[in-house]
Amino acid sequence: MFDGLLGPEEWQAVRLSLKVALVATVASLPIGVFVAYALARWRFPGHQLLNGIVHLPLILPPVVTGYLLLITFGTQGAVGSFLKKIGIVFAFNWTGAALAAAIMAFPLMVRAIRLSIEAVDSKLEEAGSTLGASRRQVFATITLPLILPGIVAGAILAFAKAMGEFGATITFVSNIPGRTQTLPSAIYTFLQVPGGEASAMRLVIISVVIALAALFASELVARRIARRVAGS
């Protein structure tokens, strides 16, 4: 239905944005859950430090985050040059866009999941352990299902953020059509030239529609989970 609406390059941007947002969300979710759990439940020496690092992308202007990513993960960067040797390239690649989006969305994801973990009644986890479940099994069978609403919330925040992320992405991986040009970068480009507003708005609408669809789906999922716990 949008066929007439968008040119092939724009379609490419839509597809790429979806891919970037999905991959960023899915790939960072396990790490997000782990970090949230560590922050919520463990007391360890680097606790505050880790917490601070997680929040950094929120505090820093996106261009700064993008710049730091560029000098770290760029092919000349400390990490980037090492990763390149083992075949992983983030720089100027869609994977880099996903990395940038994931990092920008990480504080939001972690906070949502952490809040859910903190709300779990640890007496239930204790009950699980008395029934023979190891810490890991307790996590998998009790904690995880109970924090699903938080995970869904964290994931949708991350997805929405990834769909809208622009500053860090364009600074890190540039704006190469078909490779790193996401919807927000395309929108930005249109806004840079006279007469581009209409085109930009079309893309904005597409981006909003996608993100809202994901949002509504997540609401349904979350409500379903909540209803199950409240007793079907």
Partner: protein, 360 residues
């Protein structure tokens, strides 16, 4: 299996200092609200780490603070029935029940699942989630969940408090079975003297975080001075053999030659059982009564009389069936001229001996 335990811990306004050693069977923790029962249960389960403590179950050290040994709860193979249920809200009743089995090493289940579900009366609740259960239903599921985990030790914290008398009577045999047939040690917290009498192998009476008294129930319950249990809990324990079942619904017992008549029991003739005879249900007469509705009349000799602070006195009577306790008024002691050595007759109504007072 024996349980040896030594715990010391200071809460801001509560001091726990308990140690006892009990033989296999059911150890009942008995004591007033706030006396430290749940705290001890939690320590045994590994959910509470006292400042100082050593817990040994059948030779295995569960914890030893001086040697820094602490076996985590999931390795203790517990079946803990919590005072507050703690069902998993995201699982159905069925999933809650199955939970323990998922982690227990494969072995014969302690209980047949179907039978247990029927006994607990939760067949119709299997696909419901805990949020929709009534208080007693939750408690019954919690009992089932703990039992089905094939535990090596059961901890039951007031498991029957929320249940009606009838259901209590149905579930109590389950604990007896665990104790007798499966030899699972049980730590059982209760406020009910009847449950103590029926289940306990050993009673641990708690008072303000300290152990007030430890001993077999026959002793503790017969002890006229054990106040923590309340004077109404006093009673004697008689060991008897099932002699016959009569057609009129009465079971005859043989207690060392003395016949006892009880409402029908679900025991085979020849089986040995224990009967608790509450002291306050025993009536004393100087002469053997004629034409009385009570079927049990046991002759005996007064051994001791202890006057309480109130109007009552506790009379212990040596009979062929064993020591009997009778709680009477001081006025009656005077009227009947009771004194050590005096021969008299104890009268016990058949129906006064309730099913929950009979164990085996």
């Amino acid at each position: 299996m024996t349980l040896a335990l030594e715990l010391r811990h200071s809460f801001p306004s509560f001091e726990l200092d308990a140690s006892f050693e009990v033989p296999k069977g059911v150890t009942v923790l008995f004591g007033r609200s706030g006396s430290g029962k749940t705290t001890i249960a939690n320590a045994v389960a590994g959910l509470f780490k006292p400042d100082f403590g050593r817990i040994v179950l059948d030779g295995q050290v569960l914890m030893d603070s001086t040697r820094r040994v602490f076996l985590p709860p999931h390795k203790r193979r517990l079946g803990y029935i919590f005072q507050e249920g703690r069902l998993f809200p995201h699982m159905t009743v069925r999933q809650n029940l199955a939970y323990g089995g998922r982690f227990a090493p494969r072995q014969e289940a302690v209980e047949n699942m179907e039978r247990l579900i029927g006994l607990l009366g939760i067949e119709h609740l299997m696909d419901r989630r805990p949020a929709l259960l009534s208080g007693g239903e939750k408690q019954r599921v919690a009992i089932g969940r703990a039992i089905l985990a094939s535990p090596r030790i059961v901890i039951a914290d007031e498991p029957l408090a929320a249940l009606d008398e009838q259901r209590k009577g149905e579930i109590l045999p389950l604990f007896e079975k665990l104790r007798d047939e499966l030899a699972v040690p049980i730590l059982y917290v209760t406020h009910s003297p009847a449950e103590v009498a029926r289940l306990a192998t050993t009673v641990v009476a708690m008072e303000h975080g300290k152990v007030a008294r430890v001993g077999p129930p026959a002793e503790v319950l017969s002890d006229m001075q054990v106040m923590p249990l309340g004077v109404r809990a006093a009673g004697s324990m008689i060991v008897a053999r099932v002699a016959a079942h009569h057609d009129d619904g009465i079971t005859e017992l043989d207690a060392n030659g003395v016949s006892l008549f009880l409402p029908r029991l679900d025991k085979r003739p020849g089986e040995n059982i224990r009967v608790r005879i509450p002291a306050q249900d025993v009536l004393l007469m100087r002469s053997r009564p004629e034409r009385i509705s009570a079927l049990n009349v046991i002759a005996g000799t007064v051994v001791e009389i202890r006057a309480g602070e109130g109007p009552g006195a506790m009379v212990s009577l040596k009979t062929d069936a064993g020591l009997l306790l009778a709680r009477v008024t001081k006025r009656s002691v005077a009227a009947l001229e009771l004194a050590p050595g005096v021969v008299c007759h104890a009268v016990v109504k058949t129906v006064a001996i309730a099913p929950e007072d009979v164990g085996h």
